[in-house]
Amino acid sequence: MLNIYFGDMPEAIYNTAVFFKNTYKDSWIASPLAAEMIADVDRSRVVTPQIIESPVLGMITPLQLSGGVKTLLLIANDKSGKHVFNASTCGDNCAKWILRLAQSRKVVINLRHLMDFGDDTFKAKVLNNGRIVRNMREMVEAAGQYV
């Protein structure tokens, strides 16, 4: 399930781009899930784990992926849940991927804004007050005070 701590969280990794630069592995980019996320969010195609084809920038390295995709890759590959990442580096177009990553395991993220998880129902726990929310209305009411 998705667990979200809203607002300032000193132990969270705030600058996910720097953390990604120093920790990512080629195997992350080579995974089918990564290819799907990169295609959907950045509209780019993984050519090899070192080379990605961007419609705007041409051939780029994983370091030039968007901040949102980098954070998604960090969350996806932190399977032990050792770190909490600042997911406010992700735009709303990353929300469905965060929900998907949280379908099969516990995912904890830090949000410093109200990410829009869309009009469908979902399930997330607001760690600040322990409330379970099932749609955006409940999330806005439960978490807006923390951001």
Binding site: N15, S44, Q64, S66, G68, T89, L114, M136, V147
Partner: protein, 327 residues
């Protein structure tokens, strides 16, 4: 600095063209739209100048705040547009707000957080729009008639039980007087951040929110999300400021006020005024000083509370306001 600043940043792959209208511009929106690309182009140009291969056309230097020692870097930056990436964890701090408050720079901030320490305008929050290799900025919050902001498809005249203002002084007193004797109750949230809290504490109320758009940027995201979820129960009206409404009404005869209102940015020096709201307040106080209608933020003079003047002041936002008994 003051006035509009047209900027073009380009390399062989991408071209960004946009105009800055005020001292603080916030860029957010979806991932993968080019925010990091723009920031990195500016950062490379900051490090290497023309040798970076990045071309920047602007009337003043454009620099990226790259140094971990950002306070030191800011201390040496004058008359520039400063770009700050989302990885800067000091952005939400009081120290950062204090550091940029009296600088004569403009700031472009890539960040989705609600930066409560910064008085930025709801009009200066953008996302990047792309067409092939060309990118530009588009406002996220579209203003409708009567300075109403809404995510609803249609707009109807508000049926409000409560008019909620963030002001607790002259503005609040004004709206109290305006709705005196009507079914509309006036409440003060006492601050911008108090607006969301008040709305959250009163879920069953139909509320017309009246706040200063010039400084409500840090609140608009969560308030608009609440507005969307409580469809029809919350109306959000954000004129520049209460003092701006008075100036715009023409009630106070100040030489040059009409010209100033046509393009306020041309007169608002960023080093002196952190937000347009403060400029309008200062302009009105100075322009009315020594007269029987001398404006004071602390207490509303009887002159402004005369029915005819009340109605005149709200003219530009009246269309969607709850009806007063005296209309």
């Amino acid at each position: 600095m003051k006035g509009r600043i047209d900027i073009r940043v380009s390399n062989s792959r991408a071209s960004f063209r946009f105009t800055l209208n005020r001292n603080i511009t916030v860029v957010r929106g979806d991932s993968g739209t080019g925010k990091t690309t723009l920031y990195e182009m500016i950062a490379e140009h900051t490090r290497l100048g023309k040798a970076s291969g990045v071309e920047i056309a602007a009337p003043c230097p454009c620099v990226a705040l790259t140094d971990m020692d950002w306070q030191n870097q800011l201390g040496h930056t004058r008359g520039s547009v400063v770009f700050i990436d989302e990885g800067a964890d000091y952005l939400a701090s009081r120290g950062f707000a204090s550091a940029i408050q009296k600088t004569d720079n403009y700031y472009v901030i890539f960040n989705r957080e609600n930066l409560h320490e910064l008085p930025y305008s709801v009009e200066e929050i953008y996302e990047i729009r792309t067409s092939t290799r060309y990118h530009t900025l588009k406002k996220i919050y579209q203003r409708r008639e009567g300075y109403v902001y809404s995510q609803a498809r249609t707009q109807q005249k508000a049926r409000a039980d409560v008019l909620l203002t963030e002001d607790s002084h002259a503005g609040y007193q004004f709206y109290q007087r305006l709705y005196e004797g009507t079914a509309v109750r006036c409440e003060t949230a006492k601050s911008n951040s108090g607006v969301y809290t008040w709305l959250q504490d009163h879920p069953e109320q139909n509320v017309f929110v009246m706040a200063d758009g010039a400084a409500f940027g840090s609140e608009i995201d969560r308030v608009m999300k609440l507005e969307k979820q409580r469809a029809g129960r919350i109306t959000v009206c954000l004129p520049e400021s209460f003092e701006w409404l008075i100036l715009k009404s023409g009630l106070i005869p100040i030489k040059g006020v009409e010209k100033m209102l046509e393009d306020p940015g041309e007169q608002i020096e960023s080093a002196k005024f952190f937000s347009w709201e403060r400029f309008f307040e200062d302009y009105l106080i100075r322009g009315s000083a020594g007269t029987y209608y001398a404006y004071s933020k602390g207490r509303l003079l009887p002159f402004y509370a005369v029915r005819e003047n009340l109605n005149r002041i709200i003219e530009s936002v009246a269309e969607h306001m709850p009806e007063t008994a005296h209309e």
